[in-house]
Amino acid sequence: MTTVVIAPMLVVLVTAVLTLLFGSYPRLRTGLALAGTAGYALAVALLAWTVVLAPGAPGIATYQVGGHPAPFGITLVADGLSAFMLAMVATVGLASAIFSTRYVHNIGYDRRTFYNPLFHVLLLGVTGAFLTGDLFNLFVWFEVMLMASYVFVAYYGGPQHTRAAFRYVALNLVASAVFLLAVGGLYATTGTLNMADLAQRLADPAAYGIDPVPVVGLFGLLLSVFALKAGLVPFQFWIPSAYRAAPPPITALLAGATKKVGIYAIIRLSFTVFAGADVPISLSVPGTDLGIAGASPLAFVGPVLFAMAAASIVVGGVGAIGRPSIEGVFAYSSIGQVGFIALPVALAAAATSEQFRRLAVLAALVYALNHALAKALLFLAAGAVRSATGTIAFDDLGGLAERAPALSIAVFVGSLALVGMPPLSGFFGKFLVFEAAIRAEAGGALVVLLAGSLLTIAYATRVWNRGFWGAPSTAVTDARMDRVQVAAVVALAAGVLAVGIGFDPVYEFAEVAAEAALDAEGYAEAVDPGGEAA
């Protein structure tokens, strides 16, 4: 029964190997890649259903790789939060894989053969990061994911791609070193790296003979690493160049999946591991009343993450307005949108009431889902425009609405979802985020959210006006849209619409996920690091 936990990982792993083995048969390779991604989606659905959604489901399931018991072996844990994230990634991955079948064939031979295996390695890294219950293993999955994405950023091999890749690689190498530092420090301090074990030990440091003070700083290091993966200000500057350099289906995956790994890691570690930590904090700026005080590292995460999220919303929004190309606008926009996801997380960290925390995490999750779907849609649409017209610069575009109505309607839906129009998924996301801000009585948050929303409207309108409205330009008149590519984009648009209209089940799923994120005790019990139950 618990094999279902590891099933998604096994499916992508086997697919990656098979597509590598049969690399020289293009049809077989493409078929395998598509079947593998569909299988992945099925495995995720099965996991979500048997572990979380089915009536009487346990809500959490664990898997001990190699049969070594926790905390000695590597534990994989699937709970509501992991399942929610996986479902999101599977949806984006499927659309991106369908899009890829029509995107890969016009790239050189060597690169073509490595596209599908790397695509699945990227998925593997993301899946592993969502499922692992061990901090060092999380590091390993991060690296797996990053290795694949490095290659994709350098994929086209032009000077600007190499520069973007070098920047991306250099930053992430530093981040990896910092991650290792934090892991080493946590191990030296607490004597364990298993997340459940870590949560238990930190909740009662005296019983385990731990001095928990360094944990706050180490968690700060971890937070900066995850913020880099999520692309929060001040770690955002790799995003625009990397997103423009990678092939569009991969950019969709980077924005829809890799970024969410950063958010997931922040949520998981903040609420499942460090929320219960018994570390009194009191910091103050000398000579003023400003200061932070609280009983757990979250007291410190709240304000810091809040500042980062607010800055992201502003920087992303302002940056997006002036970009000269579709992809540029969306790349900056995704910096701002991550701010919208991180803001409720920060509010939840600062809050003390359990009920409010759940609401805020729920808001973050719903918004993350909305962003993953909408942004994947928009990046894929930009890719479709690029392969049809050969350009994505606004100056060469215009009148796409006339030439490609289906694609334009899909982009329209995606933009409205970003803006937050009912009845699309974005409306509920924005609504919940605003509700969290109002309930927290955070006036500053409201101002930032409002400003961010206005900026979103401004750049979405600009994309529409310059790219899709008006008389067709020469490039657009000669364009031939690829049906499969458009179909993938339209399918995602239908997804955005479906999430908005049939919001109830999604809301329930997200609620289960938020509850799982906050349920540190249930998590520890399921993993059972001490082996008391055995």
């Binding site: 590091f139 290795m147 080493g184 191990y187 610069a393 060469d396």
Partner: protein
């Protein structure tokens, strides 16, 4: 004593790595990244301590007489993994810097950055010129 030597080494590696990372030469930057990675590995190694000689620490040897003092095997396994990953990453970064040299004819970061700015401007200008 070992602790002081190790701490000094970790500190020195970090200092040197950071210094190299801030150079203008791309290859030096890669060396800097590699050094910082190694410093983190060494730090990870120091996180494990030498366990006292008890049967709890080495359950395999229960019933086999005297148990020697043991070093923590977990950190060694972690560092091994981290070294392998770091090795691959450094190789990739070196190949990438070779590509940068091939495409730009220089490894000076200031020049490469200048190229990026001017290319960006050119692109916008030529796009403007093509406008009908």
């Amino acid at each position: 004593m070992t602790a002081i030597v190790l701490a000094a080494t970790v500190g020195a590696l970090f200092a040197l790595g950071t210094f190299l990372m801030l150079r203008r030469d791309l290859v030096r930057v890669v060396w800097g990244l590699a050094l910082v990675g190694q410093a983190a590995n060494l730090y990870l190694l120091t996180a494990g301590e030498i366990a006292p000689a008890t049967h709890d620490a080495v359950p395999v040897l229960a019933g086999h007489g005297e148990v020697p003092e043991t070093a923590d095997p977990l950190v060694q396994a972690l560092v091994l993994t981290a070294i392998v990953i770091g090795f691959g990453m450094t190789a990739f970064a070196l190949v990438l810097s070779y590509r940068v040299y091939e495409e730009h004819g220089t490894l000076d970061l200031a020049e490469i950055g200048g190229r990026e700015v001017s290319e960006g401007r050119e692109r916008t200008r030529s796009d403007g010129g093509d406008r009908r």
